[in-house]
């Protein structure tokens, strides 16, 4: 399973972004080989239609099958549902990427 988490920077200690599609970076976590990497969001400052664009970048280019976030916008959610993507809605106590990595036993 490959999952995407919206993060504020490209570091392990990054805070998880409260806005999914407009997050500056994404952590791409591959559970099959227990690895993770960061990608920059090229659409973070776009005015409109960010959800479908970022979804295509994550799912089609990076093979993401799960979106991990605090909140997902309605349009992004509707597009993701059509693609059969899984949603994981986080608890407020896990505010850093390192918390999630620890929970997924990736560090």
């Amino acid at each position: 399973m490959i999952a995407a988490i919206p993060v504020m920077s490209n570091k392990k200690e990054a805070t998880i972004s409260s806005k999914f599609a407009r997050s500056p970076y994404f952590a791409i976590i591959n559970r099959d080989d227990n690895s993770y990497r960061f990608i920059e969001n090229p659409f973070a400052d776009d005015e409109k239609g960010v959800g479908p664009k970022i979804l295509s970048l994550l799912c089609e280019t990076n093979g993401v099958g799960s979106l991990i976030a605090f909140e997902l916008g309605l349009k992004l959610q509707q597009h993701a549902k059509i693609k059969g993507v899984q949603f994981i809605i986080l608890n407020e106590n896990n505010s850093k990427l390192s918390d999630i990595l620890k929970m997924m036993e990736l560090e």
């Binding site: 059969g84 899984q86 949603f87 994981i88 999630i100």
Partner: protein
């Protein structure tokens, strides 16, 4: 006799079970129950800025039904704010758009787009998970 209203379709279960007033000893017995359908109407209209017609199509209920639910939700929120009463988010005549689960270990919610039942949390792999039940 009036036709019974359809169950409201909910996209994502609420992240929390409610709110408590600050600086005030909240009596659980005085809590105001905000139904999940009332929470969803507030999310779609006031948070996602949809029109009542758009929201009613997403929730698969009539526009007048949605207006009535919204009216109830606003009155309950106002009552909780003014009377400093806790809000509990639960119940309602709802059906979820997908199968949702809650993990008792990491406290996350996750959907299951596959047909097959799952036994582990999608995040922490714990087996202590429960299916988020729909209420009629």
């Amino acid at each position: 006799m009036a036709r019974p209203r359809n169950n409201s379709k909910i996209q994502i279960p609420p992240r929390i079970k409610g709110f408590n007033p600050q600086g005030y000893y909240a009596k659980p017995s005085k809590a105001i129950i905000l139904n999940i359908e009332e929470y969803e109407v507030i999310r779609l209209l006031d948070y996602e800025n949809l029109s009542q017609l758009e929201a009613s199509k997403i929730m698969e209920i009539s526009r007048p039904s949605l207006t009535r639910i919204y009216d109830r939700a606003r009155k309950k929120n106002a009552q909780a704010l003014i009377e400093a009463r806790p809000i509990r988010i639960e119940g309602g005549k709802i059906v979820y758009d997908e199968h949702w689960y809650h993990c008792n270990k990491c406290k996350s919610h996750f959907s299951n787009p596959e047909e097959a039942e799952i036994t582990n949390c999608a995040l922490c792999l714990s087996t202590d998970i429960i299916k988020v039940e729909e209420e009629k």
